[in-house]
């Protein structure tokens, strides 16, 4: 299994600003993903964080809005850029071996005013 931590755990931000969320895994993992979860709803995949290359984004998500870095096999960041109240959500990262279960971090609760 993998233990995943995220920072910050929560934040309140002003519209128009950007927030970078960090995701740290306690072991090397092949795959890392970023999800968004609106309160009371399911998880929506934002992108696959690729080590050493550009992330692969799902339909409806773009790099300019959600730039992602993954410099190595244990760390990734997601930036929520030029935030609006509609970006208020829980952001979750996951990691694991390719073709196996993904483990999740505790999430980052973002509120945009």
């Amino acid at each position: 299994s993998a233990v995943i931590s995220q920072k910050p755990s929560r934040d309140i931000c002003q519209r128009g600003t950007s927030l970078t969320i960090q995701c740290q895994v306690d072991s090397q993992v092949t795959m890392m993903f970023w999800y968004r979860q609106q309160p009371g709803q399911s998880l929506t995949l934002i992108a696959t964080a690729n080590q050493g290359s550009e992330a692969t984004y799902e339909s409806g998500f773009v790099i300019d809005k959600f730039p992602i870095s993954r410099p190595n096999l244990t760390f990734s960041t997601l930036t929520v850029s030029n935030m609006s109240p509609e970006d208020s959500s829980i952001y979750l990262c996951s990691g694991g071996a390719r073709g196996n279960e993904q483990f999740f971090g505790p999430g980052t609760r973002l509120t945009v005013l």
Partner: protein, 111 residues
């Protein structure tokens, strides 16, 4: 993304009874499925998984059934306990790639 849905958004059961949570998936090429449990304020927690070459898998108090013919997945929880109260999600995976999540079922266990 892929479409993975659930039949029952909320399920209430009596403590000690068995629970069955259902999930329908849309992509017949999906070959790996996971059930997750999410408690309030926490990230999803892995419960059990199953690959498409199986139709049943058992864990501790949990059983997952896969019916590929009708693209249906179910999670059975035996002797449901108050600690089982949470939201349950199924997730599907294809070609060892990314996971797509269903809409979730909230399980309420009544003492």
């Amino acid at each position: 993304g892929e479409s993975v849905g659930l039949h029952l958004p909320t399920l209430s059961v009596q403590e000690g009874d068995n629970s069955i949570i259902n999930c329908a998936y849309s992509n017949s090429a999906s070959d790996y499925f996971i059930w997750y449990k999410q408690e309030s304020g926490k990230g999803p927690q892995f419960i059990i998984d199953i690959r498409s070459n199986m139709d049943k898998r058992q864990g501790q108090r949990v059983t997952v059934l896969l019916n590929k013919t009708v693209k249906h997945l179910s999670l059975q929880i035996a002797a449901t306990q108050p600690g089982d109260s949470a939201v349950y999600f199924c997730a599907e995976n294809m070609n060892f790639n990314k996971f797509y999540f269903g809409s979730g079922t909230k399980l309420n266990v009544k003492p």
